[in-house]
Symmetry: C2
Subunit: 334 residues, 2 copies
Amino acid sequence: MATLINKQFKLAARPVGLPKRSDWTYEENPVASPGAGELLVQVKYISLDPAMRGWMNAGKSYIEAVEIGAVMRAGTLGEVIASNHPDFAVGDFVSGAQGVQTYAISDGKGLFKVDPKLAPLPKYLNALGMPGMTGYFGLLDVGQPKAGETVLVSAASGAVGQVVGQIARIKGCRVIGIAGGAEKCAYAVQELGYDACIDYKKGPLFDGLAEHCPKGVDVFFDNVGGDILDAVLTRIRMKARIVICGAISQYNATEAIQGPKNYLSLLVNRARMEGIVVFDWAPRYGEAVTAIAQWMAAGKLKSKEDIVEGIETFPETLLKLFSGENFGKLILKV
Amino acid sequence: MATLINKQFKLAARPVGLPKRSDWTYEENPVASPGAGELLVQVKYISLDPAMRGWMNAGKSYIEAVEIGAVMRAGTLGEVIASNHPDFAVGDFVSGAQGVQTYAISDGKGLFKVDPKLAPLPKYLNALGMPGMTGYFGLLDVGQPKAGETVLVSAASGAVGQVVGQIARIKGCRVIGIAGGAEKCAYAVQELGYDACIDYKKGPLFDGLAEHCPKGVDVFFDNVGGDILDAVLTRIRMKARIVICGAISQYNATEAIQGPKNYLSLLVNRARMEGIVVFDWAPRYGEAVTAIAQWMAAGKLKSKEDIVEGIETFPETLLKLFSGENFGKLILKV
């Protein structure tokens, strides 16, 4: 064990705006041996998520902030390479939140075994992981779409968006996406089965909404916020449901967050806007995993990953989320 | 009939910002005789409401805009002085939306008979009218307060706010108000039974919220919007409900509406923000009138009016709503 080296990224400073290279410390430290009741995991894949930006800020949000000097929090998939824990054996694959590092010791809490024969490992960080759970419960429990309704999804080809769009389609809704660029829009329509996808980089979003949501929007699943949320508020239908899953356009704001100027459309349309955090559904994750795995097996639901190799690329790769460069769930392969 | 003169205020121009005197035309016209199936009402009281400002703007909102040149829309209470309608007799008192004028002919649609022996007429424009219905259904159906929860009400002593605060108190909630000025705050606590009332003109709202809502806010019934909504969003509890009833701070905005910058608090707290329009509960108005009348009879619910005499004062009296000068439901006595 003594020869193993743990490559780690620790938070060096709270970023102002986009995280800079100097906001991180890269360290190589020897890997300790697991103690009694502990296990050692070799991290294979690290999940890169928009929510990570929020965890870097001071103050408690829905989860504690990452401390300065601590290994950056991240979802992970790894293999057990040593174990003094009765529930985990060498060779098991586990998902968890073991952070941006190549090895991690754990007491087993928050680790879940996954079966690499049922699905490729990266799927467990995507449709069979947090993004899938978020899309499933956020859409079905909070958005409550009915067959025939119009469901609009921002970041339509992103990790959460692709799950939302496909489940809405499976449930018989008319599904419209919003994404940046022709390639993502084509993928949303051709591969994910969206009825249409609006390229917000191509022209005014208002025009696309008028064309593709002529009767308005019943459910808006928003991952982006900012101008997109503002525009959509002008097109909601009576009793519309807006699911606030994220606001990636605002996470690096150095001035005040842009509030939705058209929020009084909620009043005019007797509509509601509701925020979600996936952890609330933890007791029901099994239900979502089962449903999504069945849809995947039946060829009804696809899950696309954007896998970048090399933990050393972490600071730069993370930024792909905020530039919109990633295409599908962004994952770092160790 | 031919000698009766109808004093009318018509919309002359769509206001920019606060409605000016020149946005109105005052006319005196002879009153016509009611035709077959029609009745003639002498208007006694005219309801002045924040919503009227929205009706003056171009474009359909939750109701059609008032046309330029048309009598200004307003809720009214009047007495039938001539009738060719089988359901209405001379001497009946009726509530309706007959506009800012002293006489109105009607085919009876939208008119409801009220009993002046059960309650003084102005109450039918207040707790027993639209403000009462709005407060009752907005709080109970959308806010869904549970006994012991903290309910916060902006414009706490206003027409809707006073009903909301008192019903929340009746339902066993801890009730905190926000109002402008010591006199309104004292009234809210001493007469309406609020547990506390924060004077937003006196000091930072954040301090008042920290003092009086130390555990946060479960239900926020908002009539004001703007900075008040922004501040409250920082203090909501998990699963909070924000009822968007109005945004009087924004109705005369000449630039873009101020969106709630802290809306991502909805996400962090899994909270929802929902808009209401009272008309949706029209089939259930009877339920609310019965409940409110019983609470009034039992001395549990008060309804304060701010009555100004003289239809000629309409343009200036209306502005009291936006300066916060009115104290209780603003009504014009003809």
